[in-house]
Assembly symmetry: C2
Homo-oligomer: 418 residues x 2
């Protein structure tokens, strides 16, 4: 079979299966999730053996150690996948929820009811645990998943897919509810991205080049997660200790993730009291500071930031710092250089907090909190399949609800339109 | 200026203006809508004079009379635009609505707040009234609009744009809130569709080739409105008079629109009692019938349907008819040939109605109603900017709410993440 035929056949099977999984009740889906967890436990040795094949190939190809780490299925990875399945099973099922009801003047009873999206394709990096996490979330929301992980995780993903499908089958659900693309060929992705008649959504996860490629080549709607250029703005009047604690957490708790702070903005009335001490604390944590002119005047030894620094998502122990004359300047900076991901104000002025919240259009706008809280679990969504930085459909963390849509259900007694 | 520079400049101005219009309060936006209406009334002669230029050119180019009709700004068109502006001003403002609030175990107060999408581009046919309708809806939901109507409506759209912008300016809102692309060059659309850093959404309205072109060439998210292949399924047990009334309304009330019935499915237990009389009534209304084999056996003289008929959106007085052995066969037919737009069951069996409602995943699923009710006004959205046939973001009619997204607002007291 050509690649094109293989991919089209997979998408067609998913489309057929999507009607069945959409109609499955919560209990049946939860039983399947539990069975997947059980089978994963029982197959630990097989999974690790397949994973070792991937690891050997990756090392032969000279993969960077950090990448090998993400590829490796450890005991902790196994436990994480199983815990994830249990957590998703415990979440409320969004399918069938009635979000609005209204009786129209002509007697029509109109309601809006949550239904699955249908078929979701995910394209992601070489992290086999994402295969299980994504499968669980798609399944719980009544969707079919077509999964395409990084080619370095091929053997791992194939064995996981087999386990998931056999658990689905034993739960009387279509085994095509979750399919992993059974080829490493790059062309498979090109073909996949054109199946807009069969696939309802593509979620790319990974580096910016991958996401850019998907956006440019997909005729299917894409939920994309570009970068997080997150800001903390320390206002003219605030609790300095609180500000320092928030900034330190936002930058150093996990510098490599999208909701870490990348730029610190400080009101000029606060800068002299706040910045020197703050910078020392950052430097004690090995954070490199790149400051505006005023910052480097105030904090000798700090490097000067250039234009690229304001746009940068460092994902590292580097921080750009800018002193602003007004809150408006801070908000303008965020609008110009930010990525609409997570932006926080630290202030004790309620009025100014409100102005900031109203005017900053990021997926999470915070007052007196760390940027690190922009996360599905922390914000109460239970689990997340990604964080959308585009505003359509979902903006910010995407949980089960974001894997559904709503239809209108209209009950009448023979009404016709005049 | 090259086309590319012109379009990028427009998109950049829109992006800047979008921050201001997003922060405008309802009263200010409503005043601007009222002023646009007032200025339209006062400029009726100028508008009609510009429209006449378009009409003359269109006739010279041999445009079909039906197209010329849609292009023409009549007294009724003027009244419709003004009524539309008043209706949109009267609708509740979705911006700022808090849809969820929750206090997390760590004390964080998390809410989700509606905000505008930002910058919306619309590409549509040569109907100048759409310029005003779209501008009004985008503005009310706090968005900037970049409008590109059919090139045949160029003079009409430019004069309308000028009036809208001057009203915005006099209302102390940015005149770039609504911009019409000031060139007829086709390349403008290609450039526009690549401005994903500046534009948040594209809505194409028009024929399938236009929509297909936009989907294939846009790197901006698209809300598309493909075709409506709508079904009425007459079940084995139902009120025959009600069924006939619904079918007649669904097919003949406005055959040229997307929510008209295109295929009638009839349970075989009902067919002999229902179809001959129903077909006579259709034929009295000049509806051409194309039936399956069982239908043509039952109704001599009816044409035989072929495979294309089941896929067809006739938008005309033509109807395909199929007799099915079971409700499952009807649902399978809808899943296979339908376009997930509007599908209705006529039945007096409550259980079977529920099964149909649960299993049919169309943007409107109806019980004992005409398909013609799938419309923003009829379903209570107030006004609509289109009907989405893709499931992402909006499925079905899109009103003001669908022109917004939601951000997370998180209020803390210094919380950090552990």
């Amino acid at each position: 079979m050509t690649i094109e035929k293989t991919i089209v056949a997979i998408a067609e099977q998913a489309k057929v299966a999507s009607r069945k999984i959409a109609a499955a009740d919560s209990e049946q889906k939860n039983r399947a999730l539990a069975l997947i967890a059980e089978k994963l436990k029982r197959s630990e040795e097989t999974i690790k053996a397949e994973n070792r094949k991937d690891l050997e190939l990756a090392r032969e190809k000279g993969m960077a150690p950090a990448m090998v780490d993400r590829l490796k299925i450890t005991d902790a990875t196994m436990a994480g996948m199983i815990k994830g399945l249990e957590a998703v099973a415990a979440l409320p099922d969004p399918v069938g929820e009635v979000t609005n009801t209204e009786t129209r003047p002509n007697g029509l009873m109109v309601s809006r009811v949550r239904i699955p999206l249908g078929v979701i394709a995910m394209i992601y990096e070489s992290r086999p645990n994402v295969t299980v996490d994504a499968a669980a979330l798609c399944l719980k929301a009544g969707n079919c998943a077509i999964l395409r992980g990084g080619s370095e995780a091929f053997h791992s993903n194939m064995v996981l897919a087999g386990i998931i499908s056999s658990a689905l089958d034993e739960s009387n659900l279509p085994e095509e509810t979750v399919q992993v693309i059974p080829t490493r060929e790059r062309d498979a992705v090109n073909v996949l991205l054109k199946q807009d008649e069969l696939i309802d959504l593509v979620i790319p996860r990974g580096g910016e080049p991958l996401i850019r490629f998907v956006v440019e080549n997909s005729s299917i709607p894409v939920l994309k997660h570009y970068k997080g250029v997150c800001h903390v703005y320390v206002d003219r009047s605030c609790d300095m200790d609180q500000a320092a604690k928030i900034c330190l957490n936002a930058k150093t708790h996990r510098p490599g993730v999208c909701n870490a702070m990348e730029t610190l903005l400080v009101h000029e009335a606060t800068a002299a009291r706040f910045l020197p001490n703050m910078v020392s604390r950052f430097q004690a944590e090995k954070v490199e500071i790149r400051g505006c002119e005023k910052t480097t005047d105030l904090v000798p030894g700090a490097k000067r930031a250039d234009q690229n620094d304001w746009h940068a998502e460092y994902l590292d122990l580097v921080l750009s710092v800018k002193i602003v004359a007004t809150m408006e300047e801070a908000m303008d900076h965020i609008a110009r250089y930010g990525s609409s991901h997570t932006d926080v104000i630290v202030t004790d002025d309620y009025q100014r907090a409100n102005v900031f919240v109203k005017n900053v259009a990021s997926s999470m706008v915070g007052v007196n909190v760390s940027t690190r809280f922009n996360d599905g679990g922390e914000l109460g969504l239970g689990a997340e399949i990604g964080i959308s930085t585009s505003k359509l459909h979902a903006f910010g963390p995407m949980g089960l609800e974001e894997l559904t849509t709503r239809k209108f259900v209209v009950l009448g007694r023979g009404q016709t339109r005049h």
